[in-house]
Amino acid sequence: MNAQIHRKQYGRGIKSILRSWQLYVLLLPALVWLIVFCYRPMYGLIIAFKDFRIRQGILASPWAGLKHFKQFFSTYNAKNIILNTVILSVENLLISFPIPVIFALLLNSVENGRMRKTVQTISYAPYFVSTVVIVSIMQTILAPSTGFVNLFLQRMGSSPILFTSMPQYFRPLYIISGIWQSMGFNAIIYLSALTSISPEYHEAAKIDGASKLQRLYHIDFKLILPTVVIMFILAIGKLMTLGYEKAYLLQSGMNLATSEIISTYVYKTGLMNAQYSFSTAVSLFNSLINFILLMITNIITKKISDISLF
């Protein structure tokens, strides 16, 4: 409503731009930042198709076509790295995504306000802890001879497990620590959607004899479903942009079979071995898959539920 009035009042075109010049001035620093630190690096992506040499700069370096992409696909562990990325991403999404929703639904069903608030406060705590600290804590409590987890296992008669160096434990550790860290924070959105549900629905359902669990599903869950869907699309849009910080920190020479993902590989080949063009090609490949996934999800959800990002 208001928007329309404004539009009529000020008209479109140059006149309205001139009229809003002060707003553009407020926006200017951010716009400059956006161009320099987001779009300029995107332009830098063309080194994936060149043999980049620092002295020659981006433009003068000779073209290399798809050489670096081919080189990546022909490395012996390319398939493994891609698979690791896909498996970790998908497992992480499917396991971590529903948990904040369930947590929010359960927490919202608690009638004691003080308890609800306390649990909520506690659940946010890990979000403010750094990845370095989280990995340090994991490595400490899971240590083979000094961590209490392994001492407990030993007392139960099992031999100590080298959690942080065995490939089969990398994904569970990555995913569980992620849930531990962000469950509470990710639930905020759902909790706020839940508080906006009118209590009348619940009253009516109670009279009709719906049990608490039924109400939880048929009222609470169904009413926050649009929010859940949007969050799901967003999560898919970031599916392949796994936090490489944690993967890198959890990596050891021994668990590379599962812990080497595209982004850690890019970091190592690019910044540690200075293979700039090659690693940019690998990273671009990752971004493209990610972007295609986002588009596909967006189309599918638009068809099914009329909810979409673009």
Partner: protein
């Protein structure tokens, strides 16, 4: 009638069971969330011998401040701490200056082109140049190994920008702008004298989010800084606690062994001093960030 009553009683009972189950589950969850943090805290006050025996600790054993005394005399840690504070303060200030005015401008529906500009920002959430082009850019801008290399690449978090914009959209009434216009106030005046004083909530939220990100940041300093004296706490912590890299960083075998021994004694204390500030602050700002996130999410 009797049947209905019986049904209601049954329903009440099932609800009670459900409630009990939920409460038990949530309490257990709280324990799982808190125990690792609590463990580190009490271990930092305990005799390392007992901690390393792998006992399941509930309270400090042979409590002492030995660990902390060693930490105080370990100078790289303090340097790291100071660096972290410096980067956090500068980074948060830069981020606020970039984010808040832009978010306000983008919240105004009479600003031509705001949809397009918003799209340009949102697009970067899903597609970016990646670390190598960013690294080369930082070299090219000649800010490598300076505070700006740590601060500028994360100058705006688009997600924070959206949260902030949505807050302005739903909390600054249009009537206010119209009234101010009648009084002859221009957009600058309106933003600085009316919008900002009305928005302590969102400013607090932004400070908290940006400061948390910078305080906890590890990968950017590792990539964009070179001088060990400039490294923030997280990098120092990583070097000390996860002893893997120590030999690379130091190069001297004796010194490496010395550091590894020290790390064993100090790690709990160091984790505590690095994580504690934020853990002490956030509960007081909880209402702010919950409000900020919910407002942002509904519209974003």
């Amino acid at each position: 009638m009797a049947k209905e009553l019986a049904h209601h009683i049954k329903q009440d009972r099932s609800s009670a069971i459900f409630n009990a189950f939920v409460i038990c589950f949530l309490l257990l969850l709280c324990l799982v969330i808190l125990y690792p943090l609590w463990y580190v805290l009490i271990a930092s006050f305990s005799d390392p011998m007992y901690v390393n025996s792998g006992r399941f600790l509930l309270y400090p054993i042979h409590a002492s401040l030995d660990g902390y005394q060693k930490i105080i005399s370990y100078s790289p840690l303090w340097m790291g701490y100071l660096n972290t504070i410096y980067y956090t303060v500068v980074g948060t200030a830069v981020a606020l200056v970039l984010t808040i005015p832009a978010a306000y401008a983008l919240s105004r529906d009479d600003m031509p082109g705001r949809r397009g500009i918003m799209f340009l920002f949102s697009f970067t959430m899903f597609f970016s140049g990646g670390i190598i082009p960013m690294f080369l850019l930082i070299k090219q801008l000649k800010i490598y190994d300076t505070v700006w290399a740590v601060v500028l690449p994360v100058g705006i978090s688009v997600w924070n920008l959206i949260v902030c914009r949505s807050f302005f959209e739903s909390n600054i009434p249009k009537e206010l702008l119209e009234a101010a216009r009648l009084d002859g106030t221009n957009d600058f005046g309106f933003f600085f004298r009316i919008v900002l004083p009305l928005s302590p909530t969102i400013i607090t939220v932004m400070i908290l989010f940006y400061a948390t990100a910078q305080w906890n940041s590890f990968m950017n300093p590792l990539m964009y800084l070179q001088d060990i004296k400039k490294m923030p706490l997280q990098v120092i912590l990583r070097n000390l606690v996860l002893a893997a890299q120590i030999s690379n960083m130091v190069g001297d075998a004796n010194e490496a062994a010395e550091l590894a021994k020290m790390a064993e004694q100090l790690k709990y204390g160091i984790i505590t001093v690095s994580a504690l500030p934020l853990l002490l602050i956030y509960p007081f700002l909880q209402n702010y960030f919950v409000k900020g996130v919910s407002v942002g999410a509904v519209k974003g």
